[in-house]
Amino acid sequence: MANSQAMCTSFKQDLLNGLHAFGTSVVRAGTGADTFKGALYLATGSVGAATAAYSATNEVTGANYTATGATVTNATAPTTSGTTAFWTPSASLTWTTVTLATAFDALLLYNSTAAGKNSVAVYTFGSQTVTAGNLTLTMPTNDSSTGLLRLA
């Protein structure tokens, strides 16, 4: 078996687990998994790749929606398949009996444990409102091709 140039798959999983620090190491609260949250943003907002941290600017407001969003259920640790590392929340994100009257179309996933509330990713789903009803964001299949976070 010959040597082969590659980025190690285990490294990708380690990134999701916060093991490596090429820069100045951050101070973590502990060795447990961080808490992640999902916040909803108005369609007139501009969250995206340049969004470094959670902000209340352009976050939705309405009955039964709490600013900073909902906590993500994280019962399944990152894993790998083939050369891809992946992670997916282990339950849907839900808001019950909410009224979000101004159109929104984006979810910001961010680290709520980190002091800076650092961003992870933004997901869009088409502009909409909710009236005295429920919003459910059902997570994709947790695998290397559809997981919510995939390091390929």
């Binding site: 590659a6 997901y123 869009t124 009236t131 005295a132 997570m139 390091l151 390929a152």
Partner: protein, 71 residues
């Protein structure tokens, strides 16, 4: 046991709890490459008094591609 009129199912709306039978109910789907969205709408006299959405992420993008440099 038969239901009396007082047992008519109610549903929570912007107008409070009202009989579901008095509302117009409609649904629609939006399907894209990334999501499937199912929306339910209840109307009374053309006014939306309740709506819910259920969104399924099919294959969220973007994924992160890591590139290995060479020397």
């Amino acid at each position: 046991m038969a239901l009396s009129s007082e047992d008519e199912p109610l549903i929570y709306t912007t107008l409070g709890n009202i009989p579901v039978s008095g509302l117009d109910y409609s649904t629609y789907w939006e399907i894209t490459d990334d999501t499937i969205k199912f929306t339910e709408v209840y109307k009374q006299d053309e006014e939306i008094v309740k709506s819910s959405s259920h969104i399924y992420f099919l294959k969220p993008t973007p994924d992160l591609n890591l590139f290995q440099g060479e020397f």
